[in-house]
Symmetry: C2
Subunit: 247 residues, 2 copies
């Protein structure tokens, strides 16, 4: 990676980031029957990373996660869900920036706050990858969608972060799906089922799926309008407005 | 709170804790039909807190959470589940230690690392409160079980942390319950239902509950032994060994 003025300021932590704390976001991309993940290639290397960064001293972690995603990939208005914080004492010791970056061997970098242990707060998002066109920032030269079964070499424990995010996404699909805004405002039951199958990675039985979805009380059926024509169109559904839970 | 040598070392961060990062654990206590939460009273104050502390520079966050729980309450071998990290920029600004502690107004405390913003990693646990006898450490003078509907004044955002933990516990009951080791090795369906009802806070229909539990494929039914007597004893169940998920 080329040294530049921005990076000099970065090594000196001029933006006053909280030390030892990072944020990484797993951006899942869904389209038709494919589920992918967005990765950034570290400049001039064969190593890839999640969209990640640091939290400013006066900044909340949720706004920081959105800012980092916007700065690193150009993606805006993405619904991010916090899922797990990664804090093994050795997580920043393997596939480190010091190993990957051109100037990683310099004393300045090795002594900098960037080369220390980081605890990382993980977020994930789910977007329609045909609708977004991510562009990498100055730390990375390519932003690319990868198949989950074909991940490239990654820094730190980012592969584990992806696996854990997928686990969380699958486990919470019923309650989280509405937030991701992946379906049009109204949709058919087969469209919803196709989304589930793509994320879960296996087919579901149509009758069971429909019964389960209807029993969860999260869908509202749109009454068909009388058009005069023979009415063979499938029912359309939309998500009910979420209710607030009280303890 | 009395000043003592330990506290002096603490203010100077002699244990080399990661700055701006804390861990807080919500210990839920279950017994018969009651669900409570364990709180510690800040010395000589009317303000209570979760069992919390800091992460050493060379320590993983999971071992740190267990160490803190042991040091602050005397509880050992508790299964802790990480559920959410709290990082609003203002979360350390209300009901602060500086407001509560006797020496909170001293310049030394106000300038210390303890009086800074903290991002806190939340864990929760579920224990049988009739089987544990927590004892407070030197930062607190009482450890007490509170009804969730009758919480005392609490520091920072600890009340919100409890509510969010309860939400997570309820949402993940089906998948997490086995880990908490709350039931004897074998148990009846009514015993399991009673545990669910206490945590969820509302009654469940017996037939529905039994059908749902059996359909989840997490229980193994113990075959009754032939005793010669009329066999009216209810079936006993145990949790199946967990299977490892692969991506």
């Amino acid at each position: 990676m080329e040294r530049n003025v921005d990076l000099n300021g970065f090594l000196e932590n001029k933006q006053n980031f909280i030390p030892h704390l990072s944020i990484d976001s797993v951006i899942f991309g869904f389209h038709q029957d494919q589920l992918k993940v967005l990765l950034l290639r570290v400049h001039d290397s064969g190593v890839w990373s999640l969209s990640g960064g640091f939290v400013r001293m006066e900044e909340g972690i949720d706004p920081a996660a959105l800012r980092i995603l916007r700065e690193r990939t150009g993606l805006e208005n993405v619904y991010l869900e916090q899922y797990h914080t990664f804090g093994h004492e050795d997580r920043s010791k393997k596939n480190t920036l010091a190993d990957i970056l051109d100037f990683g061997h310099t004393e300045e970098f090795r002594n900098s706050w960037l080369n220390k242990r980081f605890v990382s707060i993980g977020y994930y998002a789910l977007v329609d990858f045909s609708k977004v066109n991510p562009t990498p920032d100055s730390f990375s030269d390519i932003a690319e969608w990868f198949d989950l079964k074909d991940l490239p070499p990654m820094i730190f424990d980012h592969r584990e972060m992806i696996h854990k995010a997928l686990e969380s996404l699958r486990a919470n699909l019923d309650t989280k799906l509405v937030g991701f805004n992946l379906l049009p405002e109204t949709f058919t039951m087969p469209e919803l089922q196709s989304l589930y199958e793509t994320i879960l990675g296996y087919p579901l039985r149509r009758n069971n799926f429909q019964r389960k979805m209807l029993s969860m009380d999260i869908l509202e059926r749109i009454e068909k309008l009388y058009t005069g024509a023979a009415n063979k169109a499938p029912y359309l559904y939309k998500f009910k407005a979420p209710t607030t839970e009280v303890v």
